[in-house]
């Protein structure tokens, strides 16, 4: 059917002839490289954040006053101040005292600390949502507090915690764009550079948005699957 071809060619030609389209095409590899940085940094800081968040969440439930106060102070600070201030503070102020810090490792540390604060609250809430009888049943079997947490409470909290955790993963992925401030060449950073050079807002940020969307959708699909697999009723 010739008219379909003509019509199709028309649209295609129109797209190809657009400068913005060419800008995106030319920079696609560059963007995907940036996405690689974004994923790499997010994944590592998430690992840090989950460990810190677990301890901070447990700490906020601790009977020990000092542990409770430390956890609270940690969560309050890293949740309460703007991320880019934290990035500045640690990158320029604190980390240089500790080691010869480079942007990427600094970014991972700051994002890890930051997400740990949010995850801490998520973990605390998840633990508290598990029925009290579960702890009692575990303790009555002779488990100590730690064993009951590890084998009985946390696995159940884990299920409750998945959806807000996925929310946090996705927020972190996007917050990671802030480390472009300290020269980490991640996705948004590269988008900014290309935009500034070409002023093709729609095409450049459209492409960036699509890449982010693909990554976040992947995360949420994985999250849904984990959630479904853990459902026992």
């Amino acid at each position: 059917m010739p008219w379909v071809e003509v019509f199709g060619m028309g649209i295609l030609d129109n797209i190809i002839s657009q400068n913005g389209y060419q800008v995106v095409l030319r920079n696609l590899g560059y963007f995907l490289g940036g996405a690689g940085y974004t994923i790499f940094i997010t994944a590592l800081s998430l690992a840090i954040g989950m460990v810190l968040g677990l301890f901070a969440g447990l700490g906020k439930l601790s009977a020990n006053k000092i542990i409770y106060m430390l956890s609270t102070a940690y969560i309050d600070f890293f949740r309460g101040t703007p991320l880019f201030v934290q990035i500045f503070l640690l990158y320029f102020g604190i980390l240089p005292v500790l080691y010869d810090n480079d942007p990427v490792s600094s970014a991972i540390i700051v994002l890890g600390l930051n997400s740990g604060a949010y995850i801490g609250e998520i973990v605390r809430a998840g633990i508290q949502a598990v029925d009290n009888g579960q702890m009692e049943a575990a303790r009555s079997l002779g488990m100590n507090q730690r064993q009951a947490m590890t084998y009985v409470i946390l696995p159940q909290a884990f299920k409750i915690v998945i959806p807000p955790m996925i929310n946090e993963f996705i927020a972190l992925l996007k917050d990671s764009s802030l480390v472009s401030a300290i020269t980490v060449p991640e996705l948004m950073h590269r988008g900014d550079l290309v935009f500034a050079n070409t002023y093709e807002a729609t095409w450049v940020f459209g492409a960036i948005a699509v890449i982010y969307f693909v990554i976040t959708k992947t995360i949420s699909v994985i999250g849904d699957n984990v959630e479904r697999r853990l459902a026992t009723d």
């Binding site: 500045f88 472009s180 401030a181 900014d192 550079l193 500034a196 002023y199």
Partner: protein
């Protein structure tokens, strides 16, 4: 000593979102400022290493010695001199007004009074808009973080004019702005002087850069770069 000097490194910070002064093309930093600082480095026996960062991060990076100098189309002002040192001015930008293609009401700086104006944060254009507002309180000033967004606001019709450094606006009109906006009037406010920022009190680097700047102005290198970009 010449060979030894060549191994010295000058760490320079910039924010490569300000064409044609600093930008990135094909993964390379290019633009007037970039060529200039490289020329100074070569003259003074330094290997120039360029880092792109947030505009906000340039000052802390200087303070922390993550970079030795910042070159990013920074205008020299009294207020800023309290926090950092600047080299001698290396560029006199001058401001220009940009309006929508179909705008016939704004022709000169006089016409800006009482209008909706946009400028980029931290530029002399922003300061100029504030001055206009002082003359006529009905003037509305919108300061964008990013000059790209200011131009988009102009295209959207949210503001009547963008007041910005002439070379930057010219570059925008050359790329996507051609069909949507135009420059009106003459270049004005000729005291918009760019300088290279150095940590306060770092006279060693300051002197070195000033010396280099003098040298390339004297040997014609500066004019060569200027011609390449403007």
């Amino acid at each position: 000593t010449g060979q030894k000097q060549e191994q010295k490194v000058l760490k320079v910070g910039t924010n490569a979102t300000f064409p044609p002064f600093e930008m990135q093309e094909n993964n390379e930093f290019t633009g007037f400022d970039m060529d200039l600082i490289r020329a100074i480095g070569e003259e003074q026996g330094y290997k120039v290493e360029i880092n792109h960062m947030d505009f906000k991060a340039l000052i802390p990076a200087l303070g922390n010695k993550k970079i030795d100098a910042a070159i990013a189309g920074m205008s020299i002002t009294e207020e800023r001199l309290k926090s950092v040192d600047f080299t001698k001015a290396y560029f006199n930008a001058g401001l220009i007004i940009a309006v929508a293609n179909n705008n016939e009401t704004i022709k000169t700086t006089e016409d800006l009074k009482g209008k909706k104006l946009a400028a980029q944060n931290g530029t002399i254009g922003a300061a100029y808009c504030d001055e206009v507002k002082k003359l006529d309180a009905k003037t509305e000033v919108r300061i964008f973080d990013d000059i790209g967004a200011a131009f988009m606001e102009l295209e959207k019709g949210g503001v009547d004019a963008v007041v910005n450094d002439h070379p930057v606006t010219a570059y925008y009109l050359k790329t996507t702005g051609t069909s949507k906006a135009k420059m009106v009037g003459d270049i004005f406010s000729a005291d918009d002087q760019y300088g290279i920022a150095i940590k306060k009190g770092n006279t060693e680097t300051l002197n070195m850069l000033n010396e280099g700047l003098d040298k390339i102005k004297a040997n014609g290198k500066y004019d060569e770069i200027y011609k390449k970009w403007f």
